[in-house]
């Protein structure tokens, strides 16, 4: 129990009298990645939205068992939309994502740009980037904020092979430091990129 962050207890969700999620229970643990996989429309995104508090479940509970009352404030959520402003440059988008600016945060932005190989595009307006590059900008936010939990909806979508590897490496590093990841995908993750548990979501 010591390494548990969140307990999802018997979550159900009804929308227009249609059952989206039914009696879902699992735990989110420190240093672990949890992959929610399932078919399109199986309720993966709805489940993520319930976890981050954006959607109220019809029944069931989300329990913060981490001992840190501010866990949900220290959670970063990256949804289907990129969460970047088209009329801001890559660097400005990252800078405004930080709640507190300091010399250290500029270093973090520089490092994140280098990690995702986007230094050359740092002064470009985000609206002029490709979908994959926009996705990388949103993923870079995970590297500059001190989050205890990453909640990412389909992190691999729109990414090329190289960027997928970068994401896997950074995740591995983050999990080693005690962070946790909950993500969605259409399939089970088989490769041992990082310690992953797979949970199938049925509609």
């Amino acid at each position: 129990m010591d390494n548990h962050l969140i307990e999802i207890d018997n979550i159900s969700l009804l929308r227009n009298e249609k059952s989206i999620l039914e009696n879902i229970s699992f735990q989110i643990k420190k240093s672990k990645a949890l992959n929610l996989y399932g078919l399109n429309g199986s309720g993966k995104t709805s489940l993520l939205k319930i976890i981050v508090g954006m959607t109220e479940p019809t029944s069931g509970f989300i329990k913060n068992v981490s001992g840190d009352e501010d866990l949900f404030k220290k959670t970063i959520y990256i949804g289907h939309k990129y969460g970047t402003k088209g009329n801001l440059t890559v660097e400005e988008n990252l800078s405004y994502a930080l709640t507190v600016n300091s010399k250290n945060s500029q270093q973090k932005i520089k490092k994140a740009l280098e990690t995702y190989k986007m230094t050359r595009q740092k002064s470009m307006l985000t609206k002029n980037l490709s979908h994959g590059q926009k996705k990388k900008v949103s993923l870079m936010k995970t590297l500059i904020t001190n989050s205890l939990l990453w909640v990412i909806d389909e992190p691999y979508s729109a990414l090329d092979e190289e960027s997928i590897n970068i994401f896997n490496d950074t995740t591995k590093e983050y999990l080693k430091k005690g962070g946790a990841l909950i993500m969605t995908s259409h399939k089970k993750i088989k490769e041992p990129f990082f310690t992953t548990e797979n949970y199938k979501v049925y509609s």
Binding site: V52, K81, K85, L88, T99, N101
Partner: protein, 221 residues
């Protein structure tokens, strides 16, 4: 720090949005030019009596013009989701966003309108009253409009719906605003109107952040 951060970001975005930032002023000038042309055959005293009222109506319509944009862009690009989840002072951030919107869309009109009124011959006292009523009235309209914008954010085309929701709520502000400038024009007391306008402003200053936060969360659900 946070207030400055949001305001500088909104100003930066507005400065890169091209000519849109000047649209409220352009619309205002067009209305005033048309008003002048259409009243050119009436006596100047009557025109001057109608001018502040016309300015008030113009400001009200311009306020509605881009109300739906307050949260729309954030909703479309996904920044609203992140901000609603992570922000522990959502109400304050919403208030700062509304303030930025008012500073960018309405404040230029609040400054330009009395200047134009003076150029057209309105007396200093009435011009000053016009300025004060607009200074209280336009932020109140932005606060009311934000609730409607938040409630309709998930709709693809929410412009008309926002206008339909806010117009009846703007009527008291229009009545008090125009009544104050009219009383000022005829050298009558207008303190009651100003008090009522201030009362409405503070009421919506308290209600709007909470209402918007709830409405935005419901829209994202």
């Amino acid at each position: 720090m946070k207030i400055l951060n949001i305001i500088t970001k909104e100003f930066l975005l507005a400065s890169r949005s091209g000519y849109e930032i000047f649209m409220p002023i352009v619309y205002f000038l067009i209305i005033i030019i048309f008003f002048n042309i259409s009243t050119s055959y009436v006596e100047k005293v009557i025109m001057l009596e109608l001018l502040p009222l016309m300015i008030w109506i113009s400001c009200l319509l311009i306020c509605i013009l881009n109300l739906e944009t307050i949260f729309k862009e954030d909703y479309d690009d996904g920044t609203l989701e992140m901000f609603l989840i992570k922000d522990d002072e959502i109400e304050l951030s919403i208030l700062i966003k509304i303030l930025s919107h008012w500073l960018l869309s309405n404040l230029p009109i609040v400054i330009v309108a009395p200047l134009i009124a003076m150029v057209l011959g309105l007396d200093t006292t009435t011009t000053l009253t016009l300025f004060v009523t607009l200074l209280i009235g336009t932020p109140t309209m932005s606060l009311i409009g934000s609730i409607a914008a938040a409630l309709t954010i998930s709709l693809r085309k929410n412009k008309i719906l926002v206008s339909i929701i806010v117009l009846p709520l703007y009527i008291p502000i229009l009545i008090f605003g125009t009544s104050a400038v009219n009383n000022s024009f005829f050298k009558m007391n207008y303190s009651v109107e100003l008090t009522l306008m201030l009362f409405l402003f503070f009421i919506f200053l308290l209600i709007t952040p909470l209402a918007c936060s709830k409405a935005l969360k419901i829209s994202l659900d």
